[in-house]
């Protein structure tokens, strides 16, 4: 598959990259690992004027501890995140999610920010221009219909990132920079919930780092993902859970997030606080997760089945976190 024509830029510093992004706005596509951007361009889902490779900018990659926080550079590879002792210890779900992305070669190329900033997917959208030329324009392509759910009044494309639900469960924040300004927002605020424009990042902004808190005491987190093959596939349902316990083994804090069940990862409300694992009504949490999820026939498994699996994977993630806590039972 050929790429569309574009000019290529390799800014030497973040400041230079931000100036370029400010100048060209949407016309400049940020490239780092290439595993998402290159495919989107090959399919002509995006045809930028300039491709801006930020991979070689110094200081944008790597993990570091800063006081009570862990700062992860945007260009840090998923391989590095999956293998980091610090992430395994402080945000196990994030390490698990990184390990489960695509295949090892892709995980070595793909970056943290690229994985977060991926577009929503749908079998009526992620196709080559030739296939799409035979389909009516759906909401995501500027039309007035949804091809996956006939008669619906909105887009049902699915956010299939692995890393974002795990980061959200672990309380992650993202830093968005533009020329002359920086904002730090909780990761959940990066998602609009609208399948057409799923990400609330401005056209002059670049995601430069992710910040994770370092939890204290007894805590653990886990990520579980449904896919057909044991490798390569995007999640068809996913759940991440963070659990912290009090000294008497009651749940002190719990954060549960479901992924691949709608246009954004969603935080599941629950009443687990103050309960032990035996008292915790996991089925109620699973029901809540189910009610937040969408299951439309637009990915490789039937929507109804994917939605049913939200219940199962929510419970698996919570139990996974308890298992990781050891002695938490």
């Amino acid at each position: 598959m050929r790429l569309p024509p574009f000019d290529y830029a390799e800014p030497k510093s973040l400041a230079e990259a931000l100036t370029l992004k400010g100048e060209h706005q949407e016309a400049a596509k940020v490239l780092a690992g290439g595993t998402e951007a290159m495919v989107q361009m090959k399919l002509r889902l995006t045809e930028p004027k300039v491709v801006m490779n930020i991979k070689k900018i110094p200081g944008m990659s790597g993990l570091e501890e800063k006081g009570e926080e862990i700062v992860i550079g945007a260009n840090t590879s998923l391989k590095e995140i999956a293998g980091s002792g610090l992430i395994k210890e402080k945000a196990g779900a994030v390490a698990e999610a990184a390990r489960l992305v695509a295949s090892p070669t892709i995980a070595a190329m793909a970056t943290m920010a690229g994985n977060i900033l991926q577009n929503t997917r749908c079998m009526y959208y992620d196709q080559s221009a030739i296939v799409l030329s035979g389909l009516e324009k759906c909401y995501k392509r500027g039309g007035r219909i949804c091809l996956a759910l006939k008669g619906s009044n909105r887009c049902f494309s699915v956010y299939q990132g692995d890393i974002a639900p795990a980061l959200m469960a672990c309380g992650g924040k993202v830093v968005l920079e533009k020329a002359g300004g920086t904002r730090t927002i909780p990761l959940e605020n990066l998602f609009t919930g609208n399948g057409v424009n799923p990400l609330a990042i401005a056209s002059d902004e670049i995601l430069t780092r992710v910040i994770l808190p370092k939890p204290k005491g007894a805590f653990a987190s886990a990520y579980r993902k449904l896919r057909i093959r044991g490798s390569v596939d995007y999640p068809l349902t996913a759940a991440a859970a963070f659990i912290a316990l009090t000294p008497d083994q009651k749940i002190n804090a719990a954060r549960i997030v479901i992924g691949a069940a709608g246009p954004a990862p969603r935080i599941v409300e629950h009443t687990l606080q103050g309960k032990s694992l035996h008292e915790a009504e996991l089925n109620a949490v699973a029901d809540q997760a189910y009610s937040l999820s969408e299951g439309v026939d637009n990915l490789t498994m039937p929507g109804a089945y994917r939605r049913k699996m939200v219940r199962v994977f929510t419970k698996r993630a919570i139990l996974g976190a308890f298992q990781a806590l050891k002695g938490g039972f």
């Binding site: 598959m1 290159m38 070669t105 892709i106």
Partner: protein
Amino acid sequence: MKPKFLSLTVNDETHQLMVLPNRTLQDVLRDDLHLTGTKDSCGQGACGSCTVLVDGQPTRSCLTLAAAVEGQKITTIEGLAQGDKLHPVQEAFVNLHGIQCGFCSPGMILTAYALLQENPNPTETEIRKAISGNVCRCTGYAKAVEAIKSLAERGVSHG
């Protein structure tokens, strides 16, 4: 779109090329340098047949812009053998029937080579995980895994 002057180091040889910015490393390797051992299949990074090594790291050449790897050391399957003498990883694949149609072999052998460089004695699970991004429709993977395992067991140097 203007062509860019590029200096690419492939299999220890430096090539000076005029390349349009939208050409992938795969395009340049196959079409300009005629190194057709690097295969073109899915074009989306899923199948692994275009895998080459960039600074020793397995990389999907179909998802890599040629301009982005200037100055880095690129190794294709053609760079593994020494003249007529196959590399031990290639020999193991031949001897243990890890190859049938051969289309996935360059990518899988380079991935196996990089694995053995990083971890000279991998377990079967580690081998299976490492090549899990290299899709093979003939061998059922068992023979390829055996070939890589034979090298791990022999503990040979894969320099």
